[in-house]
């Protein structure tokens, strides 16, 4: 299946290679560099590149291209999904997945890749198993290691691989047993010029941080499970229980993991928490334009909007912006042509406004299209869909854990057309 993987930085530096079958010369990556050059943005590199004898399947994440080489038919999503899993594992191990961290931990990275694939077929991809095999580096451990000369490879053999629930390691012990669930919802929306919703849906995830001893069996139930249109689960969740009773029953992995993600589609009315009044216009003569944006709260269920940011991708002819904001700060980058207005908390009594003039390249025709606005925001303590966790029950263990649920709503791909 997967022959080799090359890691290439955005600058074109090939800094790691790993082969699972015979070695393939790194010159194969020239095909990739060619495609990379052709696509102006890194986003636009085709995920699958054909070369005379191989196929390159690549993903772009955290400014790194993960390029895999395959030789025969394999579902492309299989490879893409695996590469993303690799990136997530790095993130899990080193806190972030960047060129520097990978270079700093090159031996661990290599060992991880060795364990994750065998002859190109995924072997151990569960973070709980991997952590048993190769311990993640911590500052304390690396200090201890240098003094005592001990290593970061697990002494015990990975028993998790043998169990029927490979995602949980055995023999977990905590003095404080706790289980936290974060319900995070993102609103994807397209609003048109007049403010009407063209399309809106909610994408939610429940992230869990479960630190419970032994082998607990949890059941999470919702007040209103019928809200959820479409769900996907971590492999630990029992599908059948969900299908018949609409409860989430599972033996959790240890530590942080994403329990489920769900989707509430456009058919249900999605509350739009913010409205934008905008007027961006470019003048026929004088190579200038005007911009006036006001943001106000719409359906916020009585909560405050925080971390409000408006981003505008300006047309290429806009040279500079001379604006004044009643709240927050704005910044226009003349190279990337991106205007960012960081508003912060929204005060419903005094609506923030950004106003002023834009100067265009002289002589160039005025832009055809007005740029669309991308909005970012956050609402604490609210799931915008109204989803509510009813209760969490622990079976199989005797202790009483501490349980907590947190709700956050954010703007996902929230776009206002102008």
């Amino acid at each position: 299946m997967i022959h080799s993987v090359f890691l290439i930085s955005n600058a074109g530096d090939l800094f790691l290679e790993k082969h699972w079958k015979s070695v393939i010369s790194r010159s194969i990556c020239d095909y990739f560099f060619e495609a990379r050059e052709k696509a102006v943005e890194p986003d636009n590199v085709p995920p699958v590149i054909r070369t005379p004898h191989h196929y390159l399947i690549n993903i772009y994440r955290e400014k790194i291209f993960f390029v895999s080489v395959i030789q025969t038919e394999v579902p492309p999503l299989f490879v893409i999904e695996f590469l993303h899993r690799v990136a997530e594992t790095f993130q899990d191990y080193f806190g972030e997945c960047s060129e520097t961290t990978i270079k700093d931990n090159v031996v661990i990275v290599y060992e991880l890749l060795e364990e994750m694939l065998d002859n190109g077929f995924p072997l151990a991809t569960e973070s709980n198993i991997l952590k048993e095999l190769i311990r993640p580096p911590t500052i304390l451990r690396s200090m201890v290691n240098t003094i005592t000369g001990s290593s970061n490879v697990g002494e015990t053999l990975p028993t998790g691989q043998l169990s029927t629930i490979p995602w949980r390691r055995a023999g977990v012990k905590y003095t404080n047993n706790e289980a936290y669930f974060d319900v995070v919802e993102e609103i994807d929306a397209i609003l048109d010029k007049s403010g009407t919703t063209v399309f809106a849906e909610i994408q939610g995830v429940i992230d869990a941080c479960v630190k419970l001893s032994g082998m607990p069996d949890l059941t999470l139930s919702f007040m209103n499970p019928r809200l959820l249109d479409d769900v996907s689960f971590h492999p630990c969740v029992r599908y059948k229980r969900w299908e018949s009773e609409r409860v989430i029953s599972f033996i959790p992995p240890d530590g942080n993991f994403q329990l489920m993600s769900y989707h509430i589609s456009a058919q249900n009315l999605v509350a739009i928490p913010v409205y934008v009044k905008q007027n961006i216009s470019f003048f026929e003569t004088g190579s200038s334009g005007r911009l006036d944006i006001t943001v106000g709260p719409k359906q916020t269920m009585g909560k405050t909007l925080e971390c409000l940011v408006v981003t505008v991708h300006m047309p290429k002819v806009v040279l500079s912006a001379n604006l004044s904001a009643t709240q927050g700060t704005y910044n226009y980058d003349p190279v990337t042509k991106i205007l960012v207005w960081d508003i912060g908390k929204l005060n419903p009594q005094k609506l923030p406004n950004l106003k002023g003039s834009l100067s265009l390249q002289s002589g160039a025709p005025k832009p055809e299209e007005n740029p669309s606005l991308n909005i970012d925001l956050k609402i604490q303590q609210l799931a915008i869909s109204g989803l509510k966790v009813n209760r969490l029950d622990v079976y199989g263990e005797k202790y009483k854990p501490f349980k907590g649920v947190k709700y956050v709503s954010k703007a996902g791909k929230f776009q206002v057309r102008t």
Binding site: S163, A170, S232, H313, E368, S372
Partner: protein
């Protein structure tokens, strides 16, 4: 101290090879190696005194490093030329301190990771293969696997270590020894590997067996001659019952012998049942393999519909090969004499893969989606749409692949994605390649009803800053216009408006698209052609100018006054035009000369003269050729007589069709599909067989139960079953309380595996779990069997299909088993003059419109002649009621049956839907009246929700009746069966065994319907129905009462 002593030795080496040391030193300074390396101190100590001058000398002399690409790590140059540079590492490896060895190995691995050659260290490293320190050992393995191929002889030194490891009492050591051994690509050890794999395949530990499965493709690629022996091993491992092995062995099967479909038969049902517990990567491989398997073994579930489908498609994508398909379908229809009945094994596969649509792994979801697309009956394919739309939220690479597949699916089954139209709307921040794919999907989804929304959406796209995307949008509009006749004029007008756009690229693209559209009906559009003629003064894009000139030339008869004038203008600017424009000017001149030689003779001469001396020889050639053809001279041959026919022949309109058309002959989700070309190792998706192969090949002998009953008691408590695959039982109506045992088993198995980690015990425990599992399986089998007896499975014939049939009986609360669906008569054979029509309420959701009740209609032609054009006419409906007709059945051959599904929105009333059923000769008045129970669809509620909802529907909305249960209603089970047979409701879990609760909602308005049956002593019972619609409530009470008191 030891390090300091090494110094002189190294100093000598430095002198010998200047370059090497310089690089070695840079090596040491690189960030990767610094953090915990103590030798680094030594390096930095050396640097000031001895190295400074050496380095400068090195730079002058060697210069090898300067060849590096600037972006790459320094010192990336090949290392072979400095044989001595790794001496320090060698010495560290030779030392007897583990920490030094570890340090050395870490540095070596870091070098390998960056693609440097360290093969000269092979002897020093391989010595440490038996090192006690586990981390050193691991790194040595990594090194060994990387270089063994290059250093075959030396690699053999390590083999004995692994052979010893294969005999280790600890299963994990056995497994890792096999894993490394099989990864060493040295041909000499093939026999050893073969032996090791065979042995491991019958190991006690499933983990070792899994490793054996992984080793099979490795050996196969090393020595393909071992294939036959390996197939034997695969056959053996396929019979394995553990989930751990299943995925890996199917992977081996796919790589070694994908065509040996016969090996799957006996394991088919087992694989289906285990599927949900297999790890996600294995699931993908198994599902893809089973898709192929099913295509060879089962019949096409859409065989009856394929006829209709083709004819409906034809309107849009008419092409020649369509007819062939038609013929094929017809032929297939002729072969089939009976109505289609799905093989229970086929159903089993569909049912067991369905929950995996909820997987977090995009590859699994895609695999299930393609399985449904290729195997499921048309009515059921719809469920995959939602999951695929969900994947669109994922990373852009995932989106890219999913959209490609969706684009292919939308061509074949447009209805499926229509409800999700808006999910494909484009954001300005999407990458261009995603935008273009979304556009493709939107274009495919366009039909008469949604075209106006789509066109409005396209209008916003045209204003985008992304010019490639704008061009694609304009083409998309063009395609919509050709496909949907009603909007052709609107589109054309819109495109004409674009002609006054400021952006030249937009104008040019529009001109090209308009040209194609006009070709379809030029007569009505002479004013557009005139408008375009005016544009020639302003547009500069050569392609667009050429298109306009071609149009004017082609339709010069429609614009007789303008055409010569355009030619006059073009003659003036001829010399400054681009080549393609020049060619079109000559073309225009020729056509005008033929139609209107009086006015244009001189102009044409002039243009041809200009062209004669053009720099481009193509243009000179063309001019010469045309002159000979159109200007009759005495020398010119017979051809010039036909000049008019040659130039002004009627040209067929271009067909604008999706690039994704016909891509579905590749298995969806595959690399080959993505590339639209066969990739190496791609296995063709076979066509459906015309008659089903013998289904009994999949039967597995059921082990004799009497044997194990005595042992059963002994180990009753110890359960080690696959984690979730058997939990269907739990979800069934009678066992919801059982879920506890499930969790118990989970912890049990984990603790068992805990023990197995500790050496010698493992084998025993491995064995134990094995046998337990078998017993457990058998036990369960027995339990099921008993229950099956109780429920009195309808047909004894189904016994042969044991396992799968059992599943059906569990799902009684959601999907009624096909046998129990009541058929109603719509048209009797005699009144219908040989045409018999029956209908039933299939209780499947009607995918095109969720507010409609799906009515399955079966036509049987009992006459001796064909019946043609079966369709519905003149529905006479109560206000608010709606009908979604089935597509017309063109031909129903004598003796044939065909089943179609139509949707009716009864508006939650039991009023009949009246309509005419027409054949090519006759019309019949018929009506469908639904029983009240069919007007609802099941809803899943928890006990709490049920009570809460019930609390809201009190008073007027509650209807309660006392009744006496019929003689046969002895237990809960019968009650459940009776109620669910009467009304399409689902069971709500309930704590008390005296009560049965059911919930559903009305199909049309979605009002909740809650039913409670409380049994009392002496066969008395109380029935309560809560529903906002009182009429429905009253009628439902009546029907259920009747059903229960029988």
């Amino acid at each position: 101290m030891q390090k300091l002593l090494q110094l002189p030795v190294n100093a000598v080496n430095i002198v010998k090879s200047v370059q090497g040391v310089v690089q070695g030193q840079e090596e040491a300074l690189s960030p990767v190696l610094t953090p915990d390396s103590s030798p680094q101190n030594w390096y930095s100590a050396v640097q000031p005194e001895e190295l400074r001058h050496l380095r400068s000398g090195g730079m002058g002399g060697g210069g090898e490093g300067s060849e590096d690409r600037p972006g790459l790590e320094e010192g990336l140059t090949s290392v072979q030329s400095q044989p001595l540079r790794h001496d320090d590492l060698k010495e560290m490896l030779d030392s007897n301190k583990d920490s030094l060895k570890l340090e050395a190995m870490k540095r070596i691995v870091a070098m390998i990771a960056r693609g440097k050659n360290t093969s000269d260290l092979f002897p020093a490293v391989v010595k440490n293969v038996a090192c006690k320190n586990i981390e050193v050992k691991k790194l040595v393995y990594v090194y060994l696997v990387r270089y063994a191929e290059e250093q075959q002889d030396l690699a053999l030194l390590s083999i004995s270590t692994f052979q010893r490891g294969l005999k280790d009492p600890n299963q994990l050591i056995r497994a890792s020894a096999l894993r490394v051994l099989s990864s060493i690509r040295v041909t000499i050890i093939v026999p050893i590997m073969m032996l090791a794999i065979k042995e491991a395949a019958s190991d006690m530990s499933p983990y070792v067996r899994k490793t054996a499965a992984h080793a099979i493709p490795k050996l196969h690629s090393l020595d393909p001659e071992q294939k036959d022996q390996l197939i034997e091993v695969i056959e053996k491992l396929l019979a394995d019952k553990t989930t751990l092995v299943a995925g890996s062995v199917v992977m081996a099967f796919e790589e070694v012998c994908p065509d040996r479909i016969d090996l799957i038969h006996k394991n088919y049902r087992k694989l289906c049942n285990l599927l949900i517990d297999v790890e996600e990567w294995g699931q993908v491989v198994i599902i893809n393999m089973l898709t192929r398997y099913a295509r060879t073994q089962f019949l096409n579930p859409n065989i009856n519909e394929s006829l209709l489908e083709d004819s409906s498609e034809k309107a849009f994508y008419a092409s020649d090969d369509e007819e062939d398909e038609d013929k094929k379908a017809e032929a297939a229809a002729l072969v089939k004499r009976k109505p289609y009945v799905m093989d229970p094994d086929h159903r089993l596969l569909l049912r067991n893969t369905k929950p995996l649509l909820q997987s977090r792994n995009a590859a699994v979801v895609m695999a299930v989606a393609q399985l449904y697309f290729h195997l499921a009956p048309k009515a059921e394919v719809g469920i995959i749409a939602k999951a695929l739309v969900r994947l669109m939220r994922s990373h852009s690479e995932v989106q890219y692949v999913v959209l490609q597949n969706v684009a292919t699916m939308t061509i074949k089954r447009r209805g499926m994605f229509e409800p999700y139209l808006k999910s494909f709307y484009i954001r300005s921040t999407d990458p261009t390649q995603i935008k273009i794919l979304k556009l493709e999907v939107l274009t495919n989804l366009a039909n008469e009803t949604n075209i106006s929304t789509i066109l409005r959406e396209f209008q916003t796209y045209i204003k985008s800053m992304d010019k490639d995307f704008v061009a694609a949008s304009i083409q998309a509009i063009g395609r919509c216009a050709t496909n949907i006749g009603e909007v052709r004029d609107t589109c054309l007008n819109g495109l004409v408006q674009l002609l006054s756009n400021r952006d030249e690229l937009v104008v040019a693209e529009s001109v090209v698209v308009i040209k194609k559209l006009l070709q379809m009906q030029p007569e009505q559009h002479s004013d557009i052609i005139k408008h375009m003629a005016k544009l020639i003064d302003n547009i500069q894009v050569p392609m667009a100018r050429a298109s306009i000139l071609w149009l004017i030339g082609e339709y010069c008869e429609h614009v007789p006054k303008i055409a010569p004038d355009v030619l006059r203008k073009m003659a003036k600017t001829f010399t400054n035009e681009e080549d393609i424009v020049k060619l079109q000017i000559i073309n225009l001149a020729a056509k005008l000369y033929l139609t209107n030689s009086k006015q244009t003779k001189l102009l044409t001469q002039y243009v041809l003269n200009l062209a004669k001396y053009d720099q481009n020889y193509d243009i000179r050639d063309r001019a010469r050729f045309i002159r000979q053809l159109i200007v009759p001279t005495d020398k010119s041959g017979a051809l010039s007589k036909y000049a008019k026919k040659l130039f002004l022949a009627l040209k067929p309109a271009p067909v604008l069709e999706s690039p994704f058309k016909d891509r579905d002959h590749f298995q969806l989700g595959s690399l080959s599909h993505l590339l639209n070309a066969k990739a190496g190792g791609y296995q063709e998706l076979p066509e459906w067989p015309e008659s089903a192969p013998d289904p009994s090949v999949r039967n597995v002998e059921i082990p004799d139960w009497s044997k194990c009953t005595s042992r059963k008691d002994r180990k009753e408590k110890k359960l080690d079953k696959p984690f979730y695959s058997d939990s269907e039982g739990d979800s069934g109506p009678t066992e919801s309380a059982d879920s506890e045992s499930d969790s118990g088993s989970g912890s049990e198995s984990a603790s068992a595996s805990d023990e197995s980690g500790s050496g010698s015990e493992s084998e025993e425990s491995g064995e134990e779990t094995e046998s337990e599992k078998e017993e457990e399986d058998e036990e369960k089998e027995k339990k099921r069997k008993k229950r099956l007896d109780k429920t009195k499975a309808k047909k004894p014939a189904e016994e042969s299909a044991e396992r799968c049939a059992i599943h059906t009986s569990y799902q009684i609360n959601t999907i009624a088993p096909s046998g129990s669906i009541k058929m109603y008569e719509l048209l009797h054979r005699i009144t219908g003059e040989g045409l018999a029509v029956e209908y039933c309420f299939s209780r499947q959701p009607f995918s095109p419109d969720p507010n409609m009740v799906a009515v399955q209609i079966q036509f049987t032609n009992n006459t001796n002649s064909e019946t043609k054009n079966l369709h519905i006419e003149e529905p006479r409906l109560q206000s608010g009621m709606r009908i979604r007709e089935f597509a017309e059945i063109e031909v129903l051959a004598a003796g044939e049956s065909v089943t179609v599904v139509m949707g009716i929105d009864f508006c939650d009333s039991t009023q009949a839907a009246n309509f005419q059923l027409c054949t090519h000769t006759r019309k019949f008045f018929v009506s469908i009246q639904p029983p009240v129970g069919e007007l609802m669809t099941p809803v899943f509620l928890t006990e709490n929700d049920f009570k809460k909802e019930q609390g809201k529907l009190m008073g007027m909305n509650e209807i309660s009746e006392k009744l006496t249960l019929g003689e046969k209603c002895v237990n809960e089970h019968v009650i459940v069966e009776r109620v669910t047979a009467t009304a399409n409701l689902s069971r709500v879990p309930c704590g008390s065994d005296k009560e049965c609760r059911f919930a559903g909602k009305t199909v049309s308005s979605g009002c909740l319907v809650l039913v409670t049956v409380t049994t009392k002593e002496g066969g008395r019972a109380q029935l309560t129905v809560n529903c906002e619609k009182m009429v429905i409530g009253t009628m439902l009470v009546k029907d259920i009462m009747q059903a229960l008191s029988q």
